[in-house]
């Protein structure tokens, strides 16, 4: 079974070198002057010890630029995550592209688009299907369904993790909510696997206490880490792509410093889930142009300039409630742009209805899309045989054909 595609094409550069520099400098400026809120005394003390300017009363950390750049250098350009089964180990970074399963709160009906809470049987079947899909390499937290019938809400994340460890031997990401990392770490270790640890921002420019606690927990378990910003363009981030890229970068680089201070050299994958807000309803404009433009800029900065692996999350959540044309083009233009601009991982399989639902049939369709995208970035062979110059000469004009060669 294959794990990942190797990019063999020059990645897209949507920004000029000067623009990349300007965005990086802007990010350092925000980190140094405005800083980021960390709602954890333990984190604040750690930052203070490492020469950040810390305002304990307002939970604010201001980062000296040299420290941020030092921590970017400390972050490896690729890292390994151990799966329960060795053949499913993943090495994120470099030219590799993986695909991640989507997460949806509920199960979606393919005919009507209506959603309902999934049963445990449906949850576990969906995991088995994902386990079998060729191009699906790993799972995020609380996947496939966040809600499962008969499971107490407080037990949802650990139960979801346990089921993924039981029914799949592929890598999983841990959750960050309400201390569930404590159980998830132990379950993974008991299976001889690692999880991708997790710490996600509460935009703008903030990290909540349970996210930070999870961050400490995963880093101390020596797991590699998935960091995520959480801005909504026009709502919790600037409405412009450049501005949203800077606020997202500031959130992510603050998290990167946090982890490199706890565990120098820890592997990190940076996630992009920024999307524009529908300015009438406040709801997410998934599948929109703003997403693919943001992803292109984000991947260029992180994979090409910082040399740190990336995942793109917003790509796999269509706004469509159905398995239809809309869903198809929403996912394709976002995921294709991600792949072309150098993403190391794309969330793709099974998402419907703006991150609110999942369906395993959709995951099967998306596996085809993943294969097309993966094959695309493998590029084409141009050598003496594939150029076929001699053959073209030999066949010549009509009535020549290529059927008998």
């Amino acid at each position: 079974m294959r794990r990942g595609y190797i990019r063999n094409i020059e990645p897209l550069k949507i920004l000029t070198d000067t623009q990349v520099e300007a965005i990086h400098r802007g990010t350092l400026d925000v980190l140094e002057e405005t800083g980021v809120r960390f709602e954890s005394q333990r984190a604040l003390r750690m930052f203070k010890k490492n020469e950040c300017i810390v305002d304990f009363e307002n939970n604010r950390v201001r980062f000296p630029s040299y420290l941020v750049e030092e921590c970017i250098r400390r972050t490896p350009s690729s890292f390994l995550v151990k799966a329960r089964d060795l053949k499913n180990n993943l090495r994120f970074g470099g030219n590799t592209l993986y695909f991640m399963c989507s997460a949806g709160a509920r199960i979606s009906d393919p005919e009507t688009g209506e959603t309902r809470v999934a049963t445990m049987k449906e949850n576990n079947e969906a995991i088995l299907i994902s386990d079998a899909l060729e191009n699906l390499d790993y799972f995020p937290s609380y996947t496939p369904y966040f809600e499962v019938e008969g499971v107490e809400p407080v037990m949802l994340c650990p139960t979801s993790c346990a089921m993924r460890l039981r029914y799949s031997s592929k890598v999983s990401r841990g959750a960050q909510s309400v201390d569930t990392y404590i159980w998830e770490i132990q379950m993974a270790q008991a299976c001889g696997a690692q999880l991708l640890g997790n710490m996600e921002a509460a935009s703008p420019l903030s990290y909540s206490e349970d996210a930070i606690n999870a961050g400490f927990g995963y880093a101390e378990a020596l797991f590699p880490i998935y960091i995520a910003g959480g801005g909504v363009m026009g709502g919790t981030a600037p409405v412009t792509i450049a501005g949203a890229t800077i606020s997202n970068n500031a959130e992510l680089l603050a998290a990167l410093v946090f982890f490199q201070l706890i565990k120098p050299g820890v592997g990190i994958i940076a996630n992009d889930i920024e999307y524009p807000m529908n300015m009438r309803s406040g709801s997410p404009a998934f599948g929109s142009l703003g997403i693919s433009l943001h992803e292109a800029a984000f991947n260029q900065i992180w994979t090409q300039f910082y040399r740190i692996p990336t995942n793109n999350c917003a790509a796999g959540f269509p706004n469509s409630k159905l398995f239809d044309l809309q869903s198809g083009y929403e996912k394709t233009h976002c995921a294709m742009t991600s792949a072309y601009s150098g993403a190391n991982s794309i969330l793709l399989h099974g998402g419907v209805s703006a991150e609110l639902a999942y369906n395993p049939l959709m995951a099967i369709l998306d596996d085809d899309l993943a294969a097309i995208i993966g094959r695309h970035i493998e590029g084409i062979v141009v050598d003496s045989e594939s150029m076929a110059i001699e053959l073209i000469k030999e066949v010549g004009p009509i009535p020549g054909t290529y059927l008998d060669w």
């Binding site: 709160a105 809400p153 994340c157 909510s177 300015m279 009438r280």
Partner: protein, 218 residues
């Protein structure tokens, strides 16, 4: 002169001009204009903004900016109303927040803003709000409505804890409780003993009007 200033207060909202809002409110007091009339000019304008939003002519930032104008101008006017021993006309007081453990803010802010634009006094406690803070705010502001937002299945149950806390403090009957957010539905709202649920921000306003026995007008 008086009508010029009143017109100015009405305009400052429609123009989303939060920079001049406070100065204009102060000026209206210096000029001796009846603060009740000033408040009426401001609320008339925000109601129009709310209607424009509901019709789809205006966008969310228009609504939020207009409410920012009100947040700057109204406290000045209200203080003067109080100083003159008069009574403020609001439709009622609403304490709102996203519950503890939950930092989703966009939906909650929409509900808060639309209520404000419908002439309610809104006390927004922000996100990740502990039960004790909700309970204290309900007591301190003697609010008519407690509105709680939760976007996670895991935090939806926090709404139940807050209702329990209000019961144990003997305060449950003093306030109407409404809940909302993506994982919430009517059945859930009933099961935790809330007074109402609405799936969208405009319907949250209709719900509050209904619970307080008011019509939909300003």
């Amino acid at each position: 002169m008086s009508s010029d200033i009143l017109d100015g207060l009405y305009r400052v909202v429609l123009d989303l001009n939060f920079e001049d809002a406070e100065d204009l409110a102060k000026k209206s007091i210096e000029e001796g204009i009846d603060p009740l009339q000033s408040a009426e000019a401001l609320t008339k304008a925000i109601r129009e903004i709310g209607e424009g939003f509901a019709k789809g002519d205006l966008f969310l930032p228009d609504l939020v900016l207009a409410s920012k104008v009100l947040q700057r101008a109204l406290p000045v006017i209200r203080a003067e109303i109080k100083r003159q021993g008069k009574k403020t006309h609001t439709r009622g007081k609403v304490v709102i927040g996203t519950v503890f453990g939950d930092i989703h803010s966009i939906g909650k802010q929409m509900v808060a803003t639309l209520l404000l634009s419908s002439s309610y006094e809104v006390i927004d406690l922000g996100v990740n709000v502990k039960s004790s803070v909700f309970v204290e705010a309900v007591k301190k502001y003697n609010s008519d409505i407690l509105a709680m937002s939760a976007l996670l299945t895991t935090t939806a149950y926090e709404q139940k804890n807050i209702i329990k806390d209000l019961i144990s403090k003997g305060m449950r009957d003093k306030v109407k409780i409404i809940v909302g957010g993506a994982p919430i539905n009517q059945e859930f709202a009933d099961s935790i003993g809330a007074d109402g649920y609405a799936p969208t921000a405009p319907l949250a306003v209709t719900l509050v009007n209904k619970l307080l026995g008011l019509d939909s007008g300003g």
